[in-house]
């Protein structure tokens, strides 16, 4: 029965109270370990289409009569449009329509960052649209530009109230601690730079708006577009069959969708609005920079007695104040914790969720601080983490937590450090570092799936979800196949179209598999029940002795073994329809993912070059559906993490606030040459017994969380240098090495025997 509940819903570490209808989920979890299809490596079902270039991304769609839009963006970081004249643009060849501030949602007359959208043009070709946009005559009134986050917070220029948290008495605990370490960490602004830029094509057919969009959330787009344009939701159809990466930046429709919709309305033609790479770098969101002023107090025996953090997120002109303090609150068992998190409102481009927003940054600070504490206490870093193991989330039990098991599996990697040190020479210093990972990833209701089983014994999962490149199509097919007892090649997945399936969850917050998977299994179970009911009648057997295995309806005594198609074939061209819903999350429990990375680095102490030589990534995300796809997720997260740890940084002109790194020669993402020679992926692979009929959590984000801290800790192990800033450029590396040298000299001086 459907049940209406008021509950806390978490997406990307953000919580809100919502009403949801949940359906109870009576299915028992499968036994632990690899099953027939689930838990076995499977190449992606759509890999061939993607590899051969047959997959049609939004960027590849060509609708008849389609126009191209270009957007006029503010050259100023903060300015008001005093006057705007679209006429010069409209007079140019090929131009079909032009719109200004207020004429489409997102086009603004007060630009809060350089790159803010102001006006747009639709023309026959993109080149014509670009020329026309340049011809728009704007008179700007330049306003004060605020770029310094500390100054902004001091002046009360914030995106929202500071978020404060305290348990116990931090000041008292610090005063009583045997050892206190204090450090300030800074992380940089990082750009998503998905290979397919943000884009949408809008087409009106009667009063229905068709939106073809590169998105992580088909239903969120449908809802937001309908609400903004004041339309019934069923009059908005959203399609995204293949998408070229999002990483958190494609959760909402944004100006390009509304520009395309409005220009399509005005011209009566389909309109594409696609960001250029330059626009992607200036206007499509980012992982915001942070400043983290942290303190930790501990007893001599390694018990952490106090954690104190002041976090400032450089949110930018819009976005949200991500949970940079989250790891400090949740990772360790500590009675006294105090955090305050400021969100500085700056004249910089908007923050958008980026693969574990807040936790990536906060884990860098906290896990580096832990190693500085370990050094001061002369305690082994792994041992320090174990000594402060959190058994609950501040009193709330975990639905499952196997971090201890992750630590156990980390041991052989951690033990390598003696041998690694021994491979150091005069220039290349080698070391090993580790960092723990905590993040959400439990998903939640509502999510729905249908499953059609045809008379040929083949099934199709139908649900209007999206596959953002994580292998969702394959994982869902595996779940359906496992439950139905069909071979994987007999199960397809249709997704990517709000008109072709039920509501499906967002692909963000590592929630796709834990949200959608249980619904798919429930739909498959519903279909299987019907197969068995039909078979029982056809073969005059009791339902309870029947099962479907490897494509056959079988009886417990082995006397019956008939192909599924012989049973379903009775229906001729008709089909069985199963329907499934995602059940509720466990009440009164924290659903979180855990892991640990052990990283080996080599540092050239003369040139500041850092090489990541080996990464062991051990994760606890419940049941693994597809070990092959899961290892790809982990490798991808590690590599993206290496990018923001070593080479990626968005830079601004400090005077004007204009973005300087607008192209991919200046914004440097890892290439294949930056990949460590060895990345080892291990999964605890134990179903979370309290979480859904699958016991699976998400894996999209966890692997990126601990990377920076583990690398920084390995650098400290190798060289004694404390890096406090990301990226660890040669500049930062050489600074930290110099500082470590000076510190060593000081120590030597102090330790030197006095002259007699």
């Amino acid at each position: 029965m459907a049940r209406l509940i008021r509950t806390e819903k978490e997406v990307e570490g953000r919580f809100e109270e919502v009403w949801i209808v949940v359906e109870e989920d009576p299915l028992e979890q499968w036994p632990e370990g690899p099953l027939t299809v689930v838990g076995r490596p499977a190449p992606r079902k759509d890999a061939g289409e993607r590899v051969r270039g047959e997959a049609r991304y939004t960027a590849d769609l060509r609708l008849p009569g389609m126009l191209q839009a270009a957007v006029l963006r503010s050259p100023h970081a903060h300015a008001r449009v005093r006057r705007i004249d679209l006429a010069p643009a409209l007079a140019l060849p090929g131009v079909r329509a032009a719109i200004g501030p207020g004429e489409a949602h997102g086009l603004v007359d007060e630009a809060g960052f350089a790159g803010a959208p102001v006006a747009a043009v639709a023309a026959d070709t993109f080149r014509q649209a670009l020329v026309a946009v340049e011809a728009i005559d704007v008179e700007w009134e330049e306003l004060e530009v605020v770029l310094d986050p500390d100054a902004a917070v001091e002046r009360g220029l914030v995106t929202d109230e500071a978020r404060r948290y305290e348990r116990g008495d931090v000041e008292k605990a610090l005063a009583g601690a045997d050892v206190v370490v204090e450090a300030t960490y800074r992380t940089q602004t990082v750009l998503h730079n998905s290979m397919e830029t943000h884009q949408a094509i809008c087409e009106w057919q009667g009063d229905t708006l068709h939106v073809f969009i590169s998105t992580q959330y088909i239903w969120g787009i449908r809802q937001a577009v309908a609400e903004t344009l004041d339309m019934p939701e069923d009059k908005v159809r959203v399609v995204c069959e293949f998408m070229g990466g999002g990483f958190g930046s494609k959760n909402s429709p944004d100006e390009y969708t509304f520009v395309a919709a409005e220009l399509a309305k005005r011209t009566g033609r389909p309109v594409r609005c696609a960001l250029t790479r330059r626009e992607e770098n200036t206007s499509a969101g980012n992982r915001n920079a942070t400043i983290q002023r942290l303190r930790a107090g501990a007893r001599r025996d390694g018990t952490i007695v106090a954690l104190d953090g002041e976090f400032t997120n450089s949110v930018g002109w819009s976005g949200w104040n991500a949970s940079t303090e989250g790891p400090m609150r949740m990772l360790y068992d500590c009675e006294n914790v105090r955090t305050v998190t400021h969100g500085a409102k700056l004249n910089t481009p908007p923050m958008k969720a980026f693969r574990a927003p807040g936790f990536v940054e906060g884990t860098f600070g906290l896990e580096c601080l832990l190693d500085e504490l370990a050094a001061r206490l002369d305690v082994d870093p792994l041992e320090l983490r174990r000594r402060n193991y959190a058994g609950s989330n501040d009193g709330t039990p975990f639905s499952s937590k196997n971090l201890e098991e992750c630590y156990r599996r980390a041991e052989p990697h951690w033990e390598r450090r003696h041998e690694v040190h021994a491979r150091s020479d005069a220039t290349w210093k080698r070391g090993v570092g580790m960092a723990s990972q905590i993040w959400y990833g439990g998903g939640g209701p509502p999510s729905y799936a249908w499953l059609r089983l045809g008379s040929d014994g083949r099934a199709t999962v139908v649900t209007a979800m999206q596959d953002i490149g994580t292998g969702t199509r394959t994982a869902m097919a595996q779940i359906g196949a496992e439950e139905l007892g069909l071979p994987l090649e007999h199960v397809e997945v249709v997704l990517g179209d709000s008109a072709r399936g039920p509501y499906a969850a967002i692909s963000a917050g590592s929630s796709t598999t834990p949200s959608m998977g249980p619904a798919v299994r429930a739909a498959a179970a519903d279909a299987k029940r019907q197969v068995i009911e039909i078979a029982a009648q056809r073969y005059h057997l009791e339902e309870r002795v029947l099962d479907v295995r490897e494509g056959k309806v079988v009886s417990a005594d082995g006397n019956l073994s008939e192909p599924v198609q012989d049973v379903v074939g009775l229906l001729e061209e008709a089909q069985i329809l199963g329907k499934g819903a995602r059940g509720p999350n466990p009440t009164g429990m924290s659903v979180l993912t855990f892991g640990v990375h052990v990283v080996e680095v080599a540092v050239d102490v003369e040139t500041g070059e850092v090489r990541v030589e080996r990464v062991a990534a051990i994760h606890d995300v419940g049941r693994i559906i597809n070990p092959l796809g899961a290892s790809s997720q982990v490798e991808g997260g590690v590599i993206q993490g290496i990018g923001h740890t070593l080479s990626e940084e968005r830079l601004l002109d400090p005077e004007t606030g204009r973005i300087l790194t607008t192209s991919l020669d200046a914004y440097r993402m890892p290439t294949i040459a930056d990949v460590p020679p060895e990345i080892i992926c291990e999964f605890v692979d134990r179903p979370d017994e309290h979480l859904t009929n699958l016991g699976s959590k998400g894996l999209g984000e966890p692997p990126i969380v601990p990377v920076a801290a583990a690398i920084a800790n390995a650098i400290r192990d190798a060289t004694g240098a404390d890096v406090h800033e990301l990226p660890i450029s040669r500049e930062e590396m050489l600074r930290a090495l110099r500082e470590a040298e000076e510190r060593a000299r000081e120590k030597e001086k102090r330790g030197a025997p006095a002259a007699v």
Binding site: A47, R50, V51, G53, G629, M669
Partner: protein, 146 residues
């Protein structure tokens, strides 16, 4: 407008296009060959890689009128054993860079059927994959002959 003659995947094409039009644009917009992706459109990412006489080039910064030689796009390499190798190795996540990866890899293995990891990294460094599929790409190229 200026006449343009191109040989693409063995087929001859004669069309008109303004001087300055990129090869990538012609492939995608005029010939409907959307397997070649444009991701940066300024020569930095490799998504648009095609072969001209077997040599990988960036079609987004190649002016179509300057092309001399036979163009091979992903559509001309669909039967290449590398495709199956990429599928097997899971060397594809979002897939947007993947056709360009295959085009670069195909040129590599044509010249050097058994490349070392080092040689793969040297030859593939111009194809950016934001999903970080690189270890699987390396594996696919190492095992391309099955």
């Amino acid at each position: 407008m200026s006449e343009l003659r191109l040989t693409v995947n063995g087929g001859e094409h004669v069309l008109d296009a303004p001087v300055g039009t990129s090869l990538a644009h012609v492939l995608r917009e005029r010939l409907g060959l959307t397997g070649t992706k444009i991701a940066c459109n300024e020569g930095h990412c490799g998504a648009c890689t095609v072969q001209v006489d077997g040599v990988p080039r960036l079609s987004c910064i190649t002016l179509a009128h300057t092309v001399e030689g036979e163009v091979t796009t992903i559509e001309g390499l669909r039967e290449h054993p590398l495709v199956e190798a990429f599928v097997r190795a899971d060397a594809v996540q979002c897939g947007y860079c993947t056709p360009g990866q295959v085009v670069s890899a195909a040129a590599l293995v044509a010249a050097n059927p058994e490349p070392t990891r080092e040689e793969i990294r040297h030859a593939m460094a111009g194809n950016i994959c934001r999903c970080g599929t690189y270890p699987k790409i390396e594996e696919a190229i190492l095992s391309w002959q099955g």
